[in-house]
């Protein structure tokens, strides 16, 4: 994972609450055996019309949403399945951060492990961002702040280890492998018990 310290972009907004992983990427596309190339399938059944053309009613298809890397979504984004295809699809689609007042647990874990900034913000600020699509934000992972267009800062908290990994591009499997001796010790004690 490449280090991520800062992200500057305009926001795109999906106001719906409880956007589940089936809406992010429908299950019928999960037969892939690779991580790549899922962006074209992101929000598939919402984003395209039945003839395959873009659905003009899907907010992210609208001209002002093009190039937006920060998604502000309704409460409880990413609920449902454990499919990591959801953050893979979002990242490949061009989304680098999701801001929400509540994010489903497994999705949030999966997202952060892939460098997708899944950030929980307070309800009042969430409400404001939902009501004001297209604003330019700067997310500072080091300072844990989001700078609004008027220059004011909104604070957020990332789980400290996830933040450390994002900032330094830490390989979590590599970190776990450093515990190999302790794991072996644990297994030995367990066997003796």
């Amino acid at each position: 994972m490449k280090p991520i310290t800062r992200l500057q972009s305009r926001t795109a907004v999906l106001t719906d609450e409880n956007i589940d992983t089936d809406r992010i990427i429908p299950a019928r596309f999960l037969t892939t055996t690779v991580r790549e190339g899922l962006g074209k399938l992101c929000f598939n059944d919402w984003r395209y019309q039945s003839d395959g053309s873009d659905n003009p009613a899907f907010p992210l298809n609208q001209p002002q949403s093009q190039g937006c890397e920060i998604l502000v979504a309704g409460r409880n984004f990413g609920c449902g399945s454990s499919r990591e295809h959801a953050p893979w699809a979002l990242l490949d689609y061009g989304i680098k951060a999701v801001l929400c007042s509540e994010i489903a647990d497994i999705f949030r874990n999966n997202a952060l492990k892939n460098g997708l900034l899944a950030i929980v913000i307070a309800e009042a600020q969430h409400r404001w961002l939902l009501d004001n699509p297209g604003v330019e934000l700067t997310i500072d992972v080091q300072a844990q702040t989001i700078t609004l267009p008027d220059g004011s800062n909104v604070a957020f908290t990332l789980e400290p280890f996830a933040r450390h990994c994002l900032l330094n591009g830490v390989d979590q499997l590599g970190f776990l492998l450093q515990h190999t001796d302790a794991i072996g010790q644990f297994e030995k004690q367990e066997k003796a018990a």
Binding site: V34, I106, L173
Partner: protein
Amino acid sequence: MTARTLFEKVWDAHVVAPESTDTPAVLYVDLHLVHEVTSPQAFSELRQRGLTLRRPDRTLATLDHSTPTLPTGADGVRPYTNAAAKAQVEQLEANCAEFGVTLHGWDSDQRGIVHVIGPELGATQPGMTIVCGDSHTSTHGAFGALAFGIGTTEVGHVLATQCLLQRKPKTLAIHVDGKLAPGVGAKDLILHIIGSIGVDGGTGYVLEYRGPTIEALSMEERMTVCNMSIEAGARAGLIAPDETTFAWLKGRPMAPQGADWDAAVARWRALRSDEGASYDREVHFDASKIGPTVTYGTHPGMASALSATLPEPTNAQERRARDYMHYEPGQSMEGMAVDVVFIGSCTNSRLPDLREAASVLRGRHVAEGVRMLVVPGSEAVRRDAEREGLHQVFLDAGAEWRVPGCSMCIAMNGDLAQPGQLVVSTSNRNFEGRQGKGARTVLASPATAAASAVAGVVADPRVYLTEAAA
């Protein structure tokens, strides 16, 4: 010593390295279940890094999600829905062979849905930590195991190290008192609970289901309850093991045998929350007040009594759900026209679930124009059901009797509903498009699903159960 909850006991026993402000705990995993959908990229990662599988003996794989539920044709060709599904299954077969994982594949008489076969084999045991790249891993909590779903990156972590980096979650006790009425079961109970605490009511928590009503449930019913913990946002849901648990597990192929069994049971008896243990949150339910319960909207929290008047939408999501599901505020779900009925999934595909559906269908026929699929959870369930003649009840009623798999719960194997069709389903998710693009899902118990198949509309099973008994 401080009083601890069941969850805390299981958690504490698996900490390899404790958590600190800076780092999560390193948590040991006793059992890693693997299926074809969420594992290929993890095996690739190991291969790229030149890593081996740490504990093949604690890793168990099966084929369930992408697999056809129609039998192999006369030409010997398995009817996969597409080349990708076939390639994915073959990839798992190759990965298991290369890394030394036991696979319950096509030639195994124990193949089935991962959350059905783990318990069936006795691989699932009290006090274990169990993970799988599948959110319904919470099912195994029915045995007093800490069991939760993980992503594919974490699948790789467990393959390589048998451990996960985890922050300790909060605890939520769900106390259930009162006797469930006849014709009302575990599925109605859990739909009622999710409808009450909400689709995100358990986010950040591990649930513990407790109280006399829970203690009176069979293991299959407990699995139905724990299975849907994730539908309230909770990664895991546990029930303390008891005599019901021990009796169910005894003699299963992977359960301890002889003196080891006695020692294990003695250990397992300590796996209950201590008197005075405190939870971060507690809620109470009276089971006697619950009737047949179904979902009416597009997430499992939009659930209500079958006969209850549906609310007028008050926000954008409820309006969207009403428009998608075509339900009428002011009316109930009872009587809504049905196109498809699905009995199956890791929630409700075990032998007692099939018996419950068969008890409604016996001597009756699926209504004109309704398609009904019955998909047993495993080869073992299929064998047992056929031995009892349940398959004949389904076939005589005009239903399809299929080969085990996830089937129409996730609709990635070709078993799916058409746009606009209404499916009464014993599965766990009613999200938009879950059972096929544009398909509308009503989650229900096996009895309610079977009654709806007979009536051709969403129906109260108690009428049929009373008649069957008479």
